[in-house]
Subunit: 189 residues, 2 copies
């Protein structure tokens, strides 16, 4: 079955507490809706800093979460001298630690930095409709000049999900994918 | 069958003529042997420049070739505002054009810039030994946390080749590969 691709550039999710340490007494705002209902890009950006490097202009996504999470690619990880684990959102145990810098201050955030695992947003209804019950991961086929198959694509079922495959910029660039490209879920055992 | 991975960072191959325009009346030297016999990294570096961007410190490989070739990743291509085709070495028709800058001058080099196609260096003897006769491309399986299959891996048979899979840094980073990792050639039809 076909699915649209969404390519996620590096970004951060913040608690209200850390957001206010970084930006002062202001509220997160909405610059642009994302495809997943309720999620949005804000107008706020942070700098990620480590002993080895710096990446500026990293978008803060909203709304606030109850954990701080910095999602980067392996390419970014080399720049920062980090070795983050590949994880699903919120699974931050023993992940990497970074300093975040905002307009109002900087915060050392331990165990926040991961490479996001490839995943599919899907509703529980569509899990059944597409015969994906009981599957934790699937494979996805990409038909480009640098195509192939992605393993370990997690099924992330939640109500009100927009059906979409999320990959990081390394996957997007390696497989020559563009935002909105269609690829194929392989429903095999 | 197993094969070692070599990850190629962005680099350039130059004619003697362009090399001397860039660096003056000096000869290319050998800083480090590469795995393919006779190929080496030199101590010379160029800047790649386009209307949209610049990438500095790009290694010049030796020896001289009878064509100028700039090999970059899709990630680099975004920085430079280019859309280079995926090509094998020397197939430069309608590829992208860039300005190269050396210590002695700069040169506009038309139709030189490509994304290198994934390829396997192999001797003609090993093509037969491994049952790959008549194959133009193969698939390669990667077993990492962000593993999968790479399509369109070209078989590049030549005497004195060192048996190795060459991929660009986007593939290396997307699939979480390191220099010298072992992956599997899928000899299927």
């Amino acid at each position: 079955m076909e699915i649209n691709v969404g390519i996620s550039n590096r970004h951060v999710h913040l608690t209200e507490e850390v957001f206010k340490k970084l930006f002062g007494d202001v509220e997160i705002d909405q610059a642009k809706e994302l495809t997943q209902p309720g999620q949005y890009a804000s107008n706020f950006k942070v700098t990620i800093k480590t002993e080895k490097g710096v990446i500026e202009n990293v978008r803060v996504l909203g709304p606030y979460r109850n954990y701080n999470q910095v999602e980067i690619s392996k390419t970014d990880a080399f720049k920062l001298g980090l070795n983050p684990p590949v994880r699903n959102s919120g699974e931050l145990e023993n992940s990497e630690s970074v300093i975040l810098i905002g307009t109002n201050g900087e915060v050392y955030v331990p165990n926040c930095c991961i490479i996001p695992a490839r995943h599919i947003h899907i509703t529980p209804e569509d899990v059944i409709k597409y015969g994906l019950e009981g599957k934790k991961t699937v494979m996805v086929r990409i038909n480009t000049e640098k195509g192939g198959i992605m393993d370990n694509v997690y099924i992330k079922a939640a109500p009100n999900s927009y059906f979409e495959l999320h990959v990081d910029t390394d996957d997007g660039n390696a497989f020559l994918l563009k935002q909105g490209d269609k690829v194929e879920i392989l429903n095999e055992n």
